[in-house]
Symmetry: C2
């Protein structure tokens, strides 16, 4: 067996960095067996040298200075795990410009600086791997790039954030409020101490930007994607949806129909209970992909965690190692060329969907007529209604599920409805994935 | 873009072969965009030249003689889709010996002649791809080889045969008998006109031999694997299982525990209703894999069909094409080296499982005591019992779910029980995947 060496520099020695080092320390033989290469960690960089870590490394390996990795001409793979998007951008570009291959877990840096990063990789004839950036150890990047390479992808529906899925599960199953469910998620270690990016949907946004760019072979820009988080969701909406046969998920959606504009968006979404994603609960992730040849495919698993993310990083490293051994010398074949057709993403106002609407109205005669009248005038037809409480004069919820309608019509109707005297609070709108979507 | 050429020979022009040709005819630009290569079909071989086919090819491309592919020195990839295992073996070995890369869909040839085929590939410095051999377009081979490469795999539970899953779904949902459900599967086009290999479990056997060999990095031999089909399953057993909280699936199982013998087997299996595989219905396939780093992962989708299988073949071809362009020249890196540790597969008698047992007994006093006495003496303890009908003197079913027990003890006990006067038919045994398995 070939005993050549692969020299590594790791930047960022936090949770995932420690996981990567653990695997390389505990299973160097596995790595060698699968690649023919002996992995050597030449340098680990982190600004915090003192932090307690549950892996032992020789003191001289740890540095505060990223130049120690960049300037080491022996290092041919830089593993970037900083978690800071602008630091990551600089490290990636610097490493690529020195003709070092990079592996990164930084989804926001990839989503924001994709063009810059891949242009640098092409220019320097080196490669960029990022399996860990989306759903950690669930190998969704490789499946899109390779396994499904022959397919035209028409749909990606992803539950790609474990924290929010855990929160929605607790709200649904145990009637927790959003806030209580969040506290529970933090206790269980699923949510970060600052869980803003999870809750406001931006973590899912970064992931769907990467997945849809790959799936469609076109650059999806982060600023073109509509995003809405779960922080305004109330338990009553989840319960109402359940009564109508739906389950609420924070869904990352990408759709491409032949000769139509692409849709890419992230928002809370009601799924019919029969949909395969509706049973994905707790902190689990799942990505539903429709290829024209394969039909629907689902990948399901935990999309986070130290060792799961490290699994993806080492998986990339094994792949890269095999390419080294094969005599591959920096052919950037894992990304499409820059031949972007002018890509337009449909604005949220232009989409067609079914809608869950919860009106807060005074319980008096004629209310339903007034609301349905405005909906009708805006081309919105009603599929189901729930109206339960009956205390004359008090404010009660009226829930409606519409047939497919155009979003701007719905928004226009809601503006009119929310100005009615009988309406006492802003109407709640949740988009629905229909059975035929 | 590079306009180099990849020259193909296709052997076997049946359903999948036609699918492959359709994709290459309809989307040559897609292939070129993803690989930089122009695909040229130089020859298609099939013994039946007259059969009606819904793809048009120039008459001179079609031949009855496989030598036309083997002797063409321009052809560097042979796509083998004959469906006949001994013909496939010969074609693969001949192609490899002429230093042609091969792509094959032939699971039984791979399962039986693995050593011979990969030895020939290594010897000749060419490669063997076979994504389509297991679950068609569901990219389970690539996920095991690459995405999960850093993991030690401890479990594979696979629903890998769509025909039998469709039959079991119809029996469960619509109370069809096995025979009626089989006829329905044939009408729907899921089952072959000769569905023997589906029903007797051998199709699943071939697939789990390939998956477990890959997952464990060791050669699993077909003759060491226990296999049992679904042809003896009765609707009443499915209903009894449902009552106890279980769903019946034909499961392909591979287990490896540290320092223990490997288990590889195929048989009808009761799964707890909470298990993620229990909701895989109709003709769908799913493979549940537990990696030490990733935890449980599931791939779900249709595991058969013309275009799905063709998707896998073209996916392999794209992968291979990219390696050509990268200057890779026949490094067999996608299979492990021949360093097989002496692998022992646990015999079916040695496994530990929970068991569903249905006794056919005379309904008279003391029956339950006699049976439980024999079970107890053989270290088998009972978890649940169903005994319903009460027509004194007639033959009634008694259903028991055991705690975990050793199979040989169960078999010994059943031999004793089936000899009792009060027992009127051979006891039905179905293995159960416990919640902790």
């Amino acid at each position: 067996m070939n005993k050549k060496i692969i020299n590594l520099g790791i930047v960022g020695f936090g949770t995932v960095g420690m996981g990567v080092v653990k695997i390389l320390q505990h299973s160097p033989a596995m790595f060698t067996e699968k690649t023919g290469l002996r992995p050597i960690i030449r340098k680990i960089v982190d600004i915090d040298k003192k932090r307690h870590r549950d892996v032992r490394i020789p003191a001289w390996i740890l540095s505060k200075n990223v130049q120690d990795v960049l300037d080491d001409s022996e290092i041919n793979v830089v593993i970037e795990l900083t978690g800071n998007e602008s630091a990551a951008r600089k490290i990636l570009l610097d490493a690529l410009s020195r003709k070092k291959n990079v592996i990164t877990a930084n989804k926001s840096a990839l989503a924001k600086y994709w063009d810059e990063i891949f242009a640098a990789a092409r220019k320097n004839g080196v490669e960029v791997y990022y399996e860990s950036a989306v759903c950690a150890g669930l190998p969704i990047i490789q499946v899109l790039q390779q396994g499904l390479a022959a397919n035209r992808i028409s749909r990606i529906f992803g539950i790609v954030n474990g924290t929010t899925n855990y929160i929605l599960t607790r709200m649904d199953r145990d009637d927790y409020s959003f806030k209580d469910a969040l506290v529970e998620a933090q206790k269980k270690g699923f949510a970060e101490s600052n869980p803003t990016l999870d809750i406001n949907g931006y973590d899912s946004l970064h992931k769907i930007v990467i997945l849809s760019s790959l799936a469609f072979g076109k650059r999806v820009k982060i600023e073109d994607v509509y995003v809405e988080g779960i922080d305004k969701i109330e338990v009553s909406d989840i319960k109402n949806g359940a009564e109508l046969g739906y389950v609420l998920k924070l869904l990352a959606i990408a759709k491409e129909e032949v000769n139509k504009e692409i849709e890419v968006r992230v928002h809370p979404t009601f799924l019919p209970k029969g949909h395969v994603l509706s049973s994905v609960e707790e902190e689990y992730n799942a990505v539903y992909i429709v290829g024209d040849l394969t039909g629907p495919i689902v990948l399901y698993g935990r999309g986070a965690g130290q060792m799961s993310a490290a699994s993806a990083v080492i998986g990339d490293l094994i792949y890269l190692g095999r390419r080294f051994v094969s005599g591959m010398s920096g052919r950037v074949d894992n990304i499409w060329e820059e031949k972007h057709s002018d890509l337009k993403i449909k604005g949220i106002n232009e989409i067609r969907a079914e809608y869950y609407l919860r009106f807060s109205v005074v319980d008096s005669p004629g209310v339903l007529a007034k609301i349905s009248n405005i909906l009708g005038m805006n081309d919105i037809s009603i599929a189901q209604v729930i109206q339960k409480s009956r205390f004359s004069g008090s404010v009660v919820p009226v829930v409606m599920m519409t047939h497919e309608a155009v979003e701007k019509n719905v928004q226009r109707a809601l503006k009119l409805i929310d100005h009615l005297d009988i309406v006492k609070a802003k109407t709640v709108l949740i988009r629905v994935i229909g059975v035929r979507s």
